[in-house]
């Protein structure tokens, strides 16, 4: 089993677990927890896409290869930096989503007194 295969399986399982948390729960806060876990799974998937076997972090260390800049021999062994940049953004946005969702839950509780989604029948007639 290679590292990529293990982490792809882990990310799929996390997405599935988060989805189950969203579907099978009636408590709104548990739904947000499931959403968070699915978000985590997606982030792990994105970072694993960029992983290269035996790769090091994409930071140039002085003295590796070329004396002045350390460029030449480092490119062969570095991990892909683009998925990491995207995931950096995605994690912060995921927190923004969690904050808005939980504020909505608190407003729903203040307005109706319940956070049980099957009792929230305001839109049904």
């Amino acid at each position: 089993m290679s590292i990529s295969a293990i982490l792809y399986a882990v990310s799929f399982l996390l997405i599935a677990i988060g989805l189950y948390g969203l579907l099978a729960n009636r408590n709104l806060v548990r739904m947000v927890i499931g959403l968070n876990i699915a978000d985590l799974g997606v982030n792990i998937f994105l970072v694993t896409v960029g992983y290269v076997e035996g790769g090091i972090a994409p930071i140039f260390t002085r003295g590796a290869g070329d004396a002045a800049t350390g460029v030449a021999s480092a490119t062969a062994a570095m991990v892909d930096p683009v998925p990491q940049a995207l995931v950096l953004t995605a994690i912060v946005i995921g927190f923004g989503i969690t904050a808005v969702a939980l504020t909505l839950v608190m407003r729903i509780y203040a307005a109706t007194g319940t956070i049980d989604s099957s009792r929230l029948r305001g839109l049904k007639w």
Binding site: M1, L7, V10, G18, I33, I37, N43, Q84, T114, I115
Partner: protein
């Protein structure tokens, strides 16, 4: 060697995430979510992504947990409704307080129906 470590940490992440979704009480679910976040940060470190690991540890374990604890504190009275029990009477009254708004369109409907009958006749 790294493969074994990644396997162990990956299995722990999945097991603790499953425990967080299936937890009995809301507070333990929130704490388990914080633990999943911390282990995911370790996974990011093992895949040679230190920036992502620092960001995930700071946001997932610190800020998200705080926001969840604030929300859980606020809705604490609703926690017994985790387990399929019916709402107590106080909530029925809060739902009943919105009834007049539901009744108003019905009266306007009957008015227009009468008008239509007059016009048709």
């Amino acid at each position: 060697m790294t493969t074994v470590v990644v396997l162990v940490v990956g299995v722990m992440v999945v097991v603790i995430a499953l425990a967080a979704v299936l937890a009995k009480s809301l507070e333990s679910a929130v704490i388990l979510l914080s633990a999943v976040s911390l282990l995911a940060s370790v996974v990011f470190l093992l895949v040679a992504a230190p920036d992502v690991a620092i960001t995930e540890a700071a946001i997932g374990s610190a800020l998200t947990t705080v926001v969840f604890v604030l929300a859980v504190y606020r809705v604490r009275n609703a926690a017994p409704q985790d387990r399929n029990t019916p709402m107590h009477a106080a909530d029925e009254s809060s739902l009943a307080a919105r009834a007049p708004r539901v009744a108003a369109p019905a009266t306007t409907d009957t008015v227009t129906e009468q008008e239509k009958e007059v016009v048709d006749a």
